[in-house]
């Protein structure tokens, strides 16, 4: 295979039976087909999820539309760069699909994790909080001490504190492809993947 990854949408999780009767937890991903728009040195630019003709004018400005037109492809909602090799064998405007994966392959899946907003340290960093007895008030979920006093006179960089939790790019590696459905463009991957349902994910071959 020449293109080593594909774009997809997380559908959700379920479980299936193996022939031996064991239950396997799987995430269903609707992956591809993606169209190759252009080629780089070690990667290709692909488009995923076509935009309906009547929505093109609303979603894309003129330069964006022209870029698709010049490449001779339909306008796409998502355009991403994916790793590839043997670039001579890939043609622009050609399609890539889930056939690049087979059962048992190891893949990594990248997505945007579910956003949990501005969270305190108990939720974000699994701090223990403080006691609610011994006369303490309103301190049960507090951070506590964040360092030394005058001896250091500053807080160490990277100190775990409250803040935005989730909604960041996350990659899960070493997931196993359980099933490939070329007809319906579906991938079943063992275990969970980052992000909410209908979120964009990148599924990459793991060397």
């Amino acid at each position: 295979m020449s293109v080593k990854a594909i774009l997809g949408t997380k559908i959700g999780m379920t479980q299936i039976f193996t022939d031996e009767g064991t239950v396997v937890p799987v995430t269903v991903i609707s992956a591809g087909p993606c169209t190759v728009i252009s080629k780089g040195e070690k990667n290709v630019q692909v488009g995923y999820r076509e935009i309906r003709p009547e929505a093109v004018k609303r979603l894309l400005n003129r330069p964006e539309r022209m870029a698709f037109e010049k490449a001779g492809v339909k306008p796409f909602r998502y355009v991403r760069s994916l790793p590839a090799d043997e670039l001579d064998s890939i043609e622009t405007q050609s399609e890539i699909n889930v056939a690049m994966f087979k059962e048992g392959d190891k893949v990594s899946v990248t997505g945007t994790s579910k956003g949990k907003g501005f969270s305190g340290v108990m939720r974000r960093h699994n701090f223990a909080g403080q006691q609610i007895t011994h006369g303490q008030t309103d301190r049960s979920r507090a951070v506590g001490s964040i360092g030394t006093a005058t001896d250091m006179a500053r807080v160490i960089k990277g100190k775990k504190m409250p803040g935005q939790y989730g909604n960041v790019k996350r990659t899960v590696r070493g997931l196993q492809v359980v099933k490939v459905d070329e007809e319906k463009n579906l991938l079943l991957v063992r275990g969970s993947i980052p992000g909410a349902k209908n979120g964009l994910v990148v599924i990459k071959h793991q060397a």
């Binding site: 479980q15 031996e20 269903v28």
Partner: protein, 125 residues
């Protein structure tokens, strides 16, 4: 449920027409495939169904029996290929969906009343 997930799950489901209808209170006899090294054999498990939950591919049920004086409960996936057969031995008359109260009972109190069916009026008398 998402229609795509539903269509995937359908591939692994048994035809519900092939599975006898049973519910909590019924006594069932299961034949379970057991793998011992290379060989495969069937093992029987008979007891009272005390709960049945979920739907679709995830549907499962719990069977309770008293084995050598010890209460044994096993939970089975209805659509598991490891279940070779299910036969209903006795229908029970119960007033609960979950018969967890049987766990606290011993001896005669663990019995579940039989459900009586009337095929026609003549059988009633």
């Amino acid at each position: 449920m998402n229609p795509i997930i539903e269509s995937i799950e359908r591939n692994y489901q048994k035809n519900l027409k092939d599975v006898p209808k049973f519910g909590p209170g019924d006594t069932v006899r299961l034949e379970i495939k057991v793998r011992e090294g290379e060989k495969e054999r069937l093992q029987a498990f008979e007891g009272v169904v005390i709960s049945r939950s979920h739907s679709g591919l995830k549907e499962n049920f719990t069977v309770r029996k008293i084995s050598y004086g010890v209460g044994v409960e096993r939970k089975f996936m209805l659509h598991s290929p490891n279940i070779a057969s299910i036969t209903v031995v006795r229908r029970g008359k119960v007033a609960r969906a979950k018969l967890y109260y049987l766990r606290d009972r011993v001896g005669k109190k663990t019995r579940v009343k039989d459900k009586i069916f009337f095929k026609d009026e003549s059988a009633k008398s």
